[in-house]
Symmetry: C2
C-alpha cells in the first residue's frame, strides 16, 4: 500500500555526525496554514509519512523525498516500516498529522515511543479548533474542546464516548462554549441528538465547519435541532457558542 | 508616536463595491510560524496596526502599506485612529496581535466592537502555548492555559491574579499540566513563589520558554525552586508538566 519512490532506495546513508537522526511530528491543517518553519523542515527531510490527505497538501514540496502513505487498515505498520527504514539509513523522518500533534488526541507517549531512536521535535500548526473558533468568533479561553476518535480497532470507543458526552454537557451547562471534532463513529447528527436529549434548546445556533482548510471547506450556521437531521461530512468541527446574542452578531460577519 | 507613511495619505478611496471594508485580526507568533494565508492577506491590506514587535516580524511584507505602530501608553487610541482612517477611506485594515487572537485573553467582543463598521475575520496562528507545549512535549488536551495580563491602566489586575492562582493550583493538584503566560505584573519568579507557598514540590521540573519564536528565544529546563530566584524575560511561557518521568524523557530530547 505504501508507494515509496524507488529511486531514493539506493542513496547511501547521509554522512551527518549527529548521533541520532531527527524525527519531526508535524501538524498540517491545510495548505493556507503551512508556515515557513514547516516548509524548511520538509526541505531537509529524507522520508515523509502520512495519510493521503496530508501528503496531498505538501505534495509539491516533497517531490524528491521517499514517501510512505498510511491507510486505514495498517497505518501503524506503515509508520513502523518507515521508522525502521529511517533508522537503518540514519535519515530524517517527518510524520504528518492532520492537526497540531499537541492538540489532537493521540497521546504524546505514542510519538515518543515510536521515535525513541531519534531526536524528536514537534512542529505545531493552527489547529482545526483554532480555525473553527476564528470562523465562529469565539474565544478558546472559555471553551471546551472535545475530540471523538475511534478505538484501536477502528470501532466506537465507548469509554471515550461516555467521558466526552459528560464533559460536553457539563461544560455547556456551566456556561462554556463547546467545540467538537466529530468522527465516523460519532457524527454531528449523533452529537446534536445527544445534546437535544439532554434538554439543550433546539434553537441553539451552531456552526458546522465541514472539511476545514481544504478546497471543499463549507461553513454553515444552523440550529442544533436542524443539525440532528443534517448528514455532515465525517471531518466536521461543530461549534456551539454560549450566547445566542454573540452568535447572531458574528453570524452577519461570516464570509 | 505612530509612524504612518505619508506617501499613502493621498491615495483616494478604493473603488471596491463591497459595502464594508475588511478588517483582519491576525495572530503573529514569530516569522517562522507565518503561514501563506497571513501573507496573502497582508498583500491585499491597506493599513497595518500593531506593536513594534509584531510589525518587525512582517516588515519586509508591508513596505508599501500605511503602518500605525502601537505603544504602551496609547495603544487603544492609535488603534482607534487607524480604524477611523480605514473607515473614512474604505480601506482594508489588519490588526496584528502577538498570539492567536482567539487564544489570548483579549475578549472577542473588544475586536467586534472596534471593527463594527468592517467585515471582520480572525486569522489564527500557532500560539505561544502550542510552541511551549511542543518544546516540552506535553499535550494540550490535559493542560490548563493561564494568561496573566495587566488591567486597563497597565497595573496588576487583582481579580485576575486571584482567579488565575486558584485555577492554576487546582488544575495542577488535579493532575493537569499547567502552561502559564507571564507578564510584567506577574513574573515567572512570582508564579514559582506562589506555587511553592502552596506546597508544590521544589524539585518539580519546569520549562521556561523566554521570547519564544524570536531570534532571542531561550528554552531552559530548571526546577520550580530555582525558577523562584531566576529573573526571566517578561515575555516567558512557563510549562509545568505533570509527571517528572515524562519530563525527564523529554528533557533529553530538547534541542
Amino acid at each position: 500500500m505504501n508507494t515509496w519512490k524507488m529511486d531514493r532506495m539506493d542513496i547511501s546513508p547521509t554522512s551527518q555526525v549527529e548521533p541520532k537522526p531527527r524525527a519531526y511530528v508535524m501538524g498540517i491543517t491545510g495548505s493556507p496554514y503551512l508556515c515557513d518553519k514547516a516548509k524548511e523542515i520538509l526541505k531537509v527531510a529524507d522520508i515523509i509519512v502520512g495519510w493521503q490527505a496530508s501528503i496531498s497538501i505538501v505534495e509539491s514540496l516533497i517531490l524528491d523525498k521517499m514517501i510512505f502513505i498510511q491507510d486505514p487498515t495498517q497505518y501503524r505498520e506503515i509508520l513502523k516500516t518507515a521508522t525502521r527504514y529511517a533508522k537503518l539509513h540514519n535519515q530524517n523522518i517527518v510524520l504528518l498529522v492532520l492537526d497540531d500533534p499537541l492538540v489532537y488526541s493521540v497521546p504524546v507517549q505514542y510519538f515518543q515511543e515510536t521515535f525513541e531512536d531519534f531526536t524528536l521535535d514537534f512542529v505545531p500548526c493552527s489547529s482545526r479548533f483554532q480555525l473553527a473558533a476564528a470562523a465562529a468568533g469565539v474565544s478558546l479561553e472559555n471553551t471546551l474542546m472535545v475530540v471523538f476518535s475511534p478505538d484501536k480497532n477502528g470501532g466506537i470507543d465507548l469509554d471515550l464516548l461516555e467521558t466526552n458526552r459528560t464533559r460536553m454537557i457539563q461544560a455547556f451547562n456551566q456556561g462554556s462554549n463547546v467545540i467538537i471534532s466529530s468522527d465516523i463513529e460519532q457524527s454531528t447528527e449523533d452529537i446534536a441528538e445527544f445534546l437535544l436529549s439532554q434538554k439543550v434548546d433546539r434553537t441553539t445556533q451552531v456552526l458546522l465547519c465541514e472539511e476545514l482548510a481544504t478546497p471543499a471547506e463549507k461553513l454553515s450556521w444552523t440550529t442544533l435541532g436542524a443539525s440532528a437531521s443534517y448528514n455532515s461530512h465525517w471531518n466536521t468541527i461543530m461549534v456551539i457558542p454560549q450566547k445566542a446574542s454573540q452568535n447572531e452578531k458574528v453570524k452577519s460577519q461570516i464570509r
